[in-house]
C-alpha cells in the first residue's frame, strides 16, 4: 500500500497541514496522515477501500459520507469503541482498527451470511431457533457474537468529564452560513450568543464550496471574530427539552474528554443544514459509492482523491458541482446520469468495490466511483423535540418545519433553498429576530423574579416574524431505482426486507421499524428514514406524507455516558466530630448522605462497657426542628398521635407520627424549651420528610397557626452519654445544671453550659435503655465538647460507641426502629403502643384510619422474640412459618446476639394470634433449617421495668 499516494495537489480550501505528518496504525499496520485529517480522510488517502463489514451480511463497506454520520465508518480506538472515523481528528500514534470483523477485515468468515442473505430476511430470528427449546440459550450466544459495534475496555480509567450550566439569550445550532450569520446578527443586536458547531470547523457546506462560497465564509468569520459570540466547535446540540432547556455536548474543552452544557436558552436557532440522502439500488453499499457532498468534502478539505473514474448521478445543483469538482481534480467523469432528464441507473457492480455501473439506458460504464446526488434529508430532530411536526414537500423531497414554538427559529437549508447570499441574509434576519425575542423573554423572567434587576412594567412587544421566506427548489423525487438495495446501512436492511415485512402485516412505519430495525442504528435514520418511508409508501400505495415518519428522539448525535454522568453531585454529610472519629479508628458506615461511625473495632465490647460503665455516641444526624410560636402544641397534637397540651417547660415526650393512611411515618421526642419554644427530634432518615410534613400542614391546612419551623439538625452536634456512670462523667462538665436525679428526672431537659460551652441542651432519654443524657451542643463546639466528655470519662473507662452498639442496645431494650421493625403497611397499632393513640383529640394526621384500625385490629404486631437456643441468631428477614403448611405467619425484623444477656434477642412481626407471651414460633432460617423461638412478655429483653434509665 502506497503512502499518501491519493492526495491531490494543494487545494485552495484544504485544512490539512502538509508540514505536520502524523503516524498511526490501521489494523496494526503503520500508516501516516496529516494534521487536520480525520481518520477517514487519512485512511482514504492511504487507499483503504474497506473500512468495515456490515452488521448482518458482513459485506465490505467503504466511505459513503465520510463524515460523522457515515453508517459504516465506525472504528475502534484503543479503549474506545464506535469512534466516528469521518469526524474524529487524527492524532499521532492513534491505534485504529476495524470493528466487528472476524478474524480480520479482509477475510471475514461471517461474510457467508451474505450468501445466505435470502434466508435471513428481516425478522428471520422470530421464525426460527425455537426448537428444541433447550438449545435457545446456545443459539442466543451465537447470535450475540454478531452484535455490531466495538469493544468496551472495562478496565480503562473512566476519564475526566465535566458539566456546566449556561443562560444564553440565543443558542445557534449549526455553524454553516446560516448559523454564522444568525450568531453574528444576534450578537450585534445585543444578545448573549452561543454558536455550536458539530464538526471541527465553522462554515458548513461553504467549506467545500466554490471560491465565492469561501469568500463569503471568510467574510462571516471576520465578522464573527468581532462579535461577542461564544463559539463551540466539535460540539453538538444534542437535545431541545422543555422550555428551551438545551443539551450541548462539547468535545473540545481543554483538559476534558467531553462536557455537557445545559443551557436555558431564551431562543434556539436551528441552523443544522441538510444531510444528503442515499439512493436505493442494487449494489448501493459497495465501497466506491459516495454521496456528492462526501466527494466534494474529501477533495476540498482533505485533498483526497476519492477515485479515478466516476459515474455521477446528479439530480440537483450539488451533483453538478461535484462533476465540476471531480473534473477539476483530474478524476475522469465517465458518465453523468441526470434524472432531471429522465435518466437513471439500475445497479452498481463489483466485488470489493464498484467496478461498473449499469444505467437505465442499458449502458454499463466502468468506474471505481459512483457519486450520488439524489436529494436531501432534513434532520428535523431538534424541531421535532420542540413539538413541531414537520410536513413533507414532495417537490423537494424533504420535510420542512410546520409550526415550531415561537422560541425556536429555523434558518438555512432546513428552512428552504437559496443562493449562499440568500441563505446568509435569512440567517442574519433570524439572528436579529432571535435577539429581539430573547429580550422579551428576559423581560418576562426578570419581571417574575423578585431578586432580579427591575424592569419596566410594560413588556416589550413580541417581535413578529417578518423574515423573507427562503425558496423551495424542486428536483426529482429519487428514493429507489428499479432494483432493490440497502436502505439502512448500519442495520443491513434492504428494500426487499421492507417490502416483505410490509406484506407480512408490519405495514405501519412504526411496526416496520421495529420488525426490521430500519432507522434504529447508530445514525438513527439520518440517512435512511426518508427512503424507508418511501419504500413503505410504495408497498402500500401511499405517499410519503401519508405514511409519516418514525419519531426522532434525543440525542441528536450520540453522547458519551461520561459526559452525561460525569461530575455528578453526591453530597456527603458529616458531623462536627467526624475528624475525631476518623482519628480514633471508627469504621464508617454510609447512611444515606451521612457517613457515621459504625463501631470503633468491637461493638460488643462497646455495649458491655456502656452497660457497665459509660459510653458516648455521636447522634448528630438525628433530625432536629426548632419550633416557635403560640400554636406549637396544636402542631404537635396534629403530627403526633398522642397529646401535647400539658407538656411542661423542661419536659420531654415521646410520640409516633402517622401518615394520613395511618401508617407509621416517624417517631421521636420533643422537648419544651420555653413558653413558646420547642425542639423536636426525628429519626435521622426521617428528618427531611418530617420537616416538610410539618410545613405542609402549616402552610396548606392551618395557615392561621402561629408556628415557625426551623431545621437545626446540624446547628447542634448531638451526642448521647449513656451508662450507669454517665451522671458522674457529666457532673465534672457542667456548672449551671443540677444533675440531681430528684431534680433532673427521666424525660426532662435542661439548658445550660457544658464543658464551657453555653447554650447547650441536654435531655434525659435513652434509646439504649441506660441512664443517659442526650447532649445537643452548638455544632462549632461539638468536637471540643466531645473531647471534654471523653477526657472526663477516662477515669470511668468511657468508650465511644457506634451505630452497631446502639442497634444492639436498643434491641436488648426492645425499642423498634420505624422502617425496620415496621414497614410500609404497618398501622400504628402494629407497634403495640395503642396507649399513644389518642382518639379523643379532634383531629390529627391519620386519625380516621387509626380510629377504624383500633376498633378491630387484625394486622401483624411487633413482638420481642427469643430463640430457644440462645446461640442462634436468625438472619433479619427470616420468615416465621407454620411448620406444617409453610404458611408465613410473620418475620424477624431485628436480630442480634446480646452481649449483655449472652443470648440472641429479636424483634419480629407476627400475626396477632401468635403475639401473646409464651407463643412458640418456628423460624425458617436463611440456611433453610428450622428453629424454635418464644414470644416474650415485654418488648424489652433487658430491664423491662426501665429501672436503669430512670436511675
Amino acid at each position: 500500500m502506497s503512502t499518501l499516494s491519493d492526495r491531490l495537489s494543494a487545494q485552495p480550501g484544504e485544512i490539512i497541514d502538509r508540514s505536520s505528518k502524523l503516524r498511526f496504525t490501521w489494523n496494526g499496520k503503520g500508516v501516516t496522515g496529516f494534521a487536520g485529517d480525520t481518520i477517514a480522510s487519512a485512511l482514504m488517502a492511504n487507499n483503504v477501500q474497506v473500512v468495515s463489514r456490515s452488521m448482518k451480511y458482513h459485506r465490505p463497506r467503504g466511505y459513503m459520507t465520510a463524515d460523522y454520520w457515515d453508517p459504516n465508518g465506525s472504528v475502534q480506538l484503543a479503549s474506545e469503541p464506535n469512534v466516528r472515523s469521518g469526524h474524529r481528528q487524527l492524532q499521532e500514534g492513534m491505534k485504529v482498527s476495524a470493528q466487528n470483523v472476524w478474524p480480520s477485515l479482509d477475510r471475514d468468515v461471517r461474510a457467508v451470511n451474505g450468501v445466505l442473505g435470502r434466508f435471513l430476511t428481516a425478522g428471520f430470528y422470530y421464525k426460527t431457533f425455537m426448537h428444541p427449546r433447550s438449545l435457545w440459550p446456545t443459539y442466543e450466544k451465537v447470535l450475540a457474537t454478531f452484535a455490531p459495534g466495538g469493544k468496551v475496555d472495562l478496565d480503562a480509567p473512566s476519564g475526566y468529564f465535566d458539566k456546566r450550566y449556561a443562560h444564553p439569550d440565543v443558542v445557534v445550532a449549526g455553524g454553516g452560513p446560516s448559523g454564522l450569520a444568525a450568531a453574528i446578527d444576534a450578537a450585534r443586536a445585543g444578545a448573549k450568543v452561543m454558536l455550536v458547531e458539530h464538526t471541527h470547523h465553522l462554515g458548513g457546506h461553504l467549506l467545500w464550496g466554490s471560491d465565492g462560497d469561501r469568500a463569503v465564509l471568510a467574510q462571516l468569520l471576520t465578522e464573527l471574530a468581532e462579535a461577542d459570540v461564544e463559539v463551540l466547535v466539535d460540539s453538538t446540540v444534542t437535545g431541545r427539552y422543555e422550555d428551551n432547556w438545551i443539551g450541548i455536548s462539547q468535545r473540545s474543552h481543554p483538559g476534558v474528554e467531553e462536557r455537557l452544557i445545559k443551557a436555558r436558552a431564551k431562543m434556539l436557532v436551528v441552523a443544522g443544514g441538510l444531510i444528503e440522502r442515499p439512493y436505493v439500488f442494487e449494489g448501493n453499499d459497495l465501497p466506491g459509492v459516495m454521496m456528492s457532498s462526501a466527494v466534494r468534502r474529501s477533495m476540498a478539505m482533505y485533498a483526497v482523491r476519492p477515485g479515478s473514474r466516476a459515474v455521477v448521478l446528479s439530480a440537483n445543483a450539488e451533483g453538478d458541482a461535484a462533476v465540476e469538482a471531480l473534473t477539476a481534480a483530474g478524476v475522469e467523469v465517465a458518465a453523468v446520469v441526470d434524472p432531471r432528464n429522465g435518466q437513471d441507473l439500475v445497479r452498481a457492480k463489483g466485488s470489493r468495490r464498484v467496478e461498473s455501473v449499469e444505467l437505465a439506458d442499458g449502458r454499463s460504464v466502468e468506474a471505481d466511483l459512483l457519486v450520488i446526488a439524489a436529494g436531501w434529508t432534513s434532520p428535523t430532530s431538534l424541531i421535532n423535540m420542540a413539538g413541531d411536526r414537520p410536513s413533507f414537500d414532495d417537490s423537494c423531497g424533504r420535510f420542512f418545519p410546520t409550526d415550531p414554538p415561537e422560541t425556536v427559529l429555523v434558518t438555512g437549508g432546513m428552512a428552504g433553498d437559496g443562493t449562499t447570499e440568500e441563505i446568509v441574509e435569512h440567517g442574519r434576519a433570524t439572528g436579529d429576530l432571535a435577539a429581539r425575542r430573547a429580550s422579551t423573554v428576559a423581560h418576562r423572567l426578570q419581571a417574575a423574579t423578585t431578586r432580579a434587576q427591575s424592569v419596566d412594567e410594560i413588556e416589550p412587544v413580541w417581535a413578529a416574524d417578518s423574515r423573507i421566506a427562503l425558496g423551495r427548489w424542486s428536483h426529482p423525487g429519487l428514493y429507489r431505482a428499479s432494483t432493490h438495495g440497502i436502505v439502512d446501512y448500519s442495520e443491513d436492511v434492504s428494500s426487499k426486507d421492507l417490502v416483505a415485512a410490509a406484506k407480512e402485516g408490519y405495514d405501519s412505519v412504526e411496526l416496520l421499524k421495529r420488525y426490521t430495525t430500519a432507522t434504529m442504528g447508530p445514525s438513527q435514520g439520518k440517512l435512511s428514514t426518508v427512503n424507508t418511508v418511501a419504500i413503505l409508501g410504495e408497498a402500500r400505495g401511499e405517499t410519503i406524507a401519508e405514511v409519516g415518519t418514525t419519531v426522532w428522539r434525543p440525542p441528536f448525535a450520540p453522547i458519551s455516558l461520561g459526559a452525561l454522568g460525569g461530575r455528578k453531585f453526591e453530597p456527603i454529610r458529616v458531623s462536627a466530630m467526624h475528624r475525631w472519629h476518623e482519628a480514633n479508628g471508627a469504621t464508617p458506615i454510609i447512611a444515606g448522605q451521612w457517613i457515621r461511625p459504625e463501631h470503633y473495632g468491637d461493638p460488643a465490647a462497646e455495649v458491655r462497657k456502656t452497660r457497665s460503665g459509660v459510653g458516648l455516641i455521636d447522634v448528630s444526624p438525628l433530625g432536629k426542628l426548632d419550633l416557635q410560636g403560640a400554636d406549637v402544641p396544636k402542631l404537635l397534637n396534629h403530627l403526633y398521635t398522642n397529646t401535647w397540651n400539658k407538656l411542661p417547660i423542661g419536659g420531654v415526650r415521646y410520640g409516633i407520627m402517622c401518615a394520613e393512611d395511618g401508617i407509621v411515618l416517624d417517631d421521636g421526642v420533643t422537648g419544651r424549651l420555653g413558653e413558646n419554644h420547642y425542639l423536636m427530634t426525628t429519626t435521622s432518615s426521617g428528618a427531611a420528610t418530617v420537616w416538610e410534613w410539618a410545613e405542609n400542614w402549616l402552610q396548606t391546612e392551618h395557615p392561621d397557626w402561629d408556628v415557625s419551623v426551623t431545621p437545626v439538625t446540624t446547628a447542634y452536634a448531638s451526642m448521647n452519654l449513656a451508662g450507669p456512670k454517665s451522671r458522674e462523667v457529666l457532673s465534672s462538665l457542667v456548672d449551671d445544671i443540677d444533675l440531681d436525679p430528684e431534680d433532673f428526672r427521666y424525660m426532662q431537659l435542661r439548658t445550660g453550659r457544658i464543658a464551657g460551652v453555653d447554650n447547650c441542651i441536654m435531655w434525659r432519654i435513652g434509646f439504649t435503655g441506660e441512664l443517659s443524657f442526650e447532649l445537643h451542643v452548638p455544632a462549632g463546639y461539638g468536637e471540643a465538647v466531645w473531647r471534654s466528655v471523653m477526657e472526663a470519662g477516662a477515669e470511668f473507662g468511657i468508650t465511644p460507641f457506634g451505630l452497631e452498639g446502639q442497634r444492639i442496645m436498643r434491641l436488648e431494650k426492645g425499642h423498634f426502629i420505624v422502617g425496620q421493625d415496621t414497614d410500609g403497611l404497618s398501622l400504628a397499632p402494629a407497634t403495640g403502643l395503642d396507649a399513644l393513640i389518642k382518639l379523643d383529640k379532634p383531629d390529627f394526621a391519620g386519625k380516621p384510619e387509626l380510629s377504624w384500625a383500633l376498633e378491630n385490629y387484625e394486622g401483624p404486631l411487633v413482638v420481642a422474640v427469643q430463640p430457644v437456643d440462645p446461640n442462634v441468631v436468625p438472619g433479619e428477614a427470616s420468615q416465621i412459618i407454620d411448620p406444617i403448611d409453610k404458611r408465613i405467619l410473620g418475620r424477624i425484623t431485628s436480630a442480634r446476639y446480646s452481649p449483655t444477656l449472652e443470648r440472641s434477642v429479636c424483634l419480629a412481626q407476627v400475626e396477632p394470634q401468635f403475639a401473646t407471651a409464651g407463643s412458640r414460633l418456628t423460624i425458617k432460617m436463611i440456611d433453610g433449617s428450622l428453629q424454635e423461638a418464644v414470644v416474650q412478655e415485654h418488648h424489652a429483653h433487658f430491664d423491662p421495668e426501665g429501672e436503669r434509665l430512670r436511675g
Binding site: P81, M130, P148, G149, V152, S158, K503, K568, I888, I926
Partner: protein, 440 residues
C-alpha cells in the same frame, strides 16, 4: 386445549403460516412472501367482547379468551399501532421474585407461560433467562433483599442473597470494591429472571389470537364508553351496565368492555364513570450504541434508581424510576439521562466512553400499592386490567389468562383475588411497594 401451533397448521387459513427454520428455507428458495401476521378486516358494529388497548395485556386477554374459553367474537382496538403503549417501549425484564406471597404466585405463573411461549405461540420471543440481580447498597435494602429471598424460597422460587464476590463472578464489569460511593453489599439473585423480545410477545399474541378469529383494529380510538342505568352523569357510573364503545370509526356494541390501556386507564375509566386510584407518570428508558456483549445478567439497583441489561444486539438498555410529576407526555428529559449515566457509571466505571443513542418514555399507571387493579368495576360489564405501573409487561400472560377466565366465568380467579379495585375502599392494600418500586 388445542395449541396455536396446531391452529396455525390445521386452519392454514393464509397459506403456510407456521414459522420454522424449514419454512424460512422454503420461503427463501421460492421467494414467496409470508402470510400476514394478522388480518385487516372491516370493523363490525358489535362484538361479544371489546378490549381497549392493543398492548400485551389486551392481546393476551383476547388470546386466552379464544384459546381457553372459545370466545372468539372479540375485537381488540387500539388508537395507534399494536404495542404502541408500554408494551412496545418497555425494557422487557421478566422475573418473579416479588415480595408478597400473592405477588410471587402471580408473577411465577407468568414466567411459566413465558417459558413455553415460543412453542405455544410459534414465534421466537427470545426469552433470555440470564439471571436478575438486585443490588443492595445499604443494610436496609439488604434486609429487604433477604425478606424477598425468604418469601420466594417458601414458594419454591429460585432466589437468594449473594455476596459481592459471587456478584463479581456473575457480572465481572461491576465495581464491588468498598471504596465506591455506594458500595455493593450484596444482591438478590434470581437466576430465572431475564429479558425478552417484547415486540415479539405482542406480535405473537396478536398473530395467535388472529388465528382463532379475534380481530385486531389499529388506529381505532375509543372516544366514549356507553353505559346505561348508572347513578352518575349520563347514566354512567356505579350500577350501570356497559353497552358498547364509541370510536373514531363509529359505534361498537358489546356487553363486555375491558380496559387494558395502562397509562391511559384513568381516561377510559372516566368515560364509564369509574374512578381509579391511578396517577399517570412517564417512565423513561434509553439505549446505547451497540458494543460487543459483556454484560451477562440484568442488573438493578433500587437505591440508585437504575437498571441495565445488554441485548443480544449489543446495546445497553437502561431504565430508572418514574418521572417526578404526573404527565401524559412521552418526551424524554435530559436530567433522566444524566442521572442514569451517573448511576450506571457508579456501578461500572468502565463504560464512560460508551455513547447514549436514544432515549424515550412510556406512560405508567401508578397505583398506591404498586399492584394492579383487575376484574370487575362498579359498572356491570366494564372490567379493568390496569395499574401496571412500571412492571406490567412481565405480567401480560398471566393477566390475560386470568382476565379471560374472569370474563368467561364471571368470577374473580383466585390468582388475582388480591388485586380487586375494592381493596382501596377497604383500606386493604397489597404490600409490594418495597419490591416493585424500581425492580421491573
Amino acid at each position: 386445549m388445542p395449541s396455536v401451533t396446531n391452529m396455525l397448521r390445521d386452519k392454514n387459513q393464509h397459506g403456510q403460516r407456521r414459522y420454522s427454520a424449514f419454512g424460512l428455507l422454503r420461503k427463501g428458495l421460492s421467494n414467496q412472501p409470508w402470510p400476514r401476521v394478522w388480518r385487516e378486516v372491516p370493523l363490525k358494529d358489535s362484538y361479544d367482547v371489546v378490549i381497549i388497548g392493543g398492548g400485551v395485556h389486551g392481546l393476551a386477554t383476547a388470546y386466552y379468551l379464544a384459546v381457553n374459553h372459545g370466545i372468539t367474537n372479540v375485537a381488540v382496538v387500539d388508537k395507534a399501532y399494536l404495542g404502541s403503549g408500554g408494551s412496545g417501549r418497555n425494557t422487557a425484564i421478566v422475573r418473579s421474585n416479588y415480595l408478597t406471597p400473592e405477588g410471587v404466585a402471580f408473577y411465577d405463573r407468568s414466567l411459566t407461560l413465558y417459558n413455553s411461549m415460543a412453542d405455544d405461540l410459534n414465534i421466537n420471543v427470545m426469552f433470555s433467562e440470564r439471571g436478575h440481580l438486585t443490588l443492595a447498597h445499604n443494610d436496609s435494602s439488604l434486609r429487604t433483599m433477604h425478606w424477598r429471598a425468604e418469601v420466594n424460597k417458601l414458594q419454591d422460587i429460585d432466589s437468594s442473597v449473594i455476596d459481592p464476590a459471587e456478584i463479581k463472578k456473575i457480572v465481572p464489569s461491576l465495581d464491588v470494591t468498598s471504596e465506591a460511593r455506594y458500595p455493593i453489599l450484596g444482591a438478590l439473585y434470581h437466576p430465572p429472571g431475564g429479558i425478552i423480545r417484547h415486540d415479539a410477545v405482542v406480535w405473537g399474541y396478536a398473530r395467535a389470537a388472529d388465528a382463532y378469529g379475534v380481530e385486531m383494529h389499529q388506529k381505532t380510538e375509543v372516544l366514549d364508553i356507553l353505559v346505561e342505568g348508572g347513578e352518575g352523569r349520563d347514566g354512567k357510573g356505579a350500577g350501570g351496565q356497559v353497552t358498547g364503545v364509541m370510536t373514531n370509526r363509529g359505534k361498537i356494541s358489546a356487553p363486555i368492555v375491558v380496559n387494558c390501556t395502562a397509562g391511559w386507564a384513568s381516561l377510559i375509566s372516566d368515560m364509564a364513570g369509574v374512578d381509579l386510584p391511578i396517577s399517570t407518570r412517564p417512565l423513561q428508558a434509553a439505549v446505547t450504541e451497540p458494543v460487543k456483549v459483556f454484560l451477562p445478567a440484568v442488573v438493578v439497583s433500587g437505591s440508585l434508581h437504575t437498571y441495565v441489561s445488554q441485548t443480544d444486539r449489543g446495546e445497553l438498555v437502561f431504565g430508572a424510576a418514574v418521572d417526578p410529576y404526573n404527565n401524559y407526555s412521552i418526551r424524554g428529559s435530559l436530567e433522566f439521562t444524566e442521572g442514569l449515566a451517573g448511576h450506571v457509571m457508579e456501578l461500572m466505571p468502565g463504560i464512560s466512553r460508551m455513547k447514549l443513542l436514544r432515549q424515550w418514555a412510556g406512560l405508567c399507571d401508578m397505583t398506591p400499592d404498586y399492584s394492579p387493579i383487575m376484574g370487575a368495576t362498579p359498572v356491570e360489564g366494564f372490567l379493568c386490567d390496569v395499574g401496571w405501573g412500571t412492571y406490567g409487561f412481565k405480567a401480560g400472560p398471566v393477566s390475560g389468562e386470568a382476565m379471560a377466565e374472569c370474563i368467561a366465568t364471571e368470577k374473580m380467579p383466585a390468582i388475582i383475588a388480591a388485586f380487586g379495585l375494592e381493596r382501596f375502599a377497604k383500606g386493604d392494600l397489597v404490600g409490594e411497594k418495597g419490591a416493585a418500586a424500581v425492580g421491573h
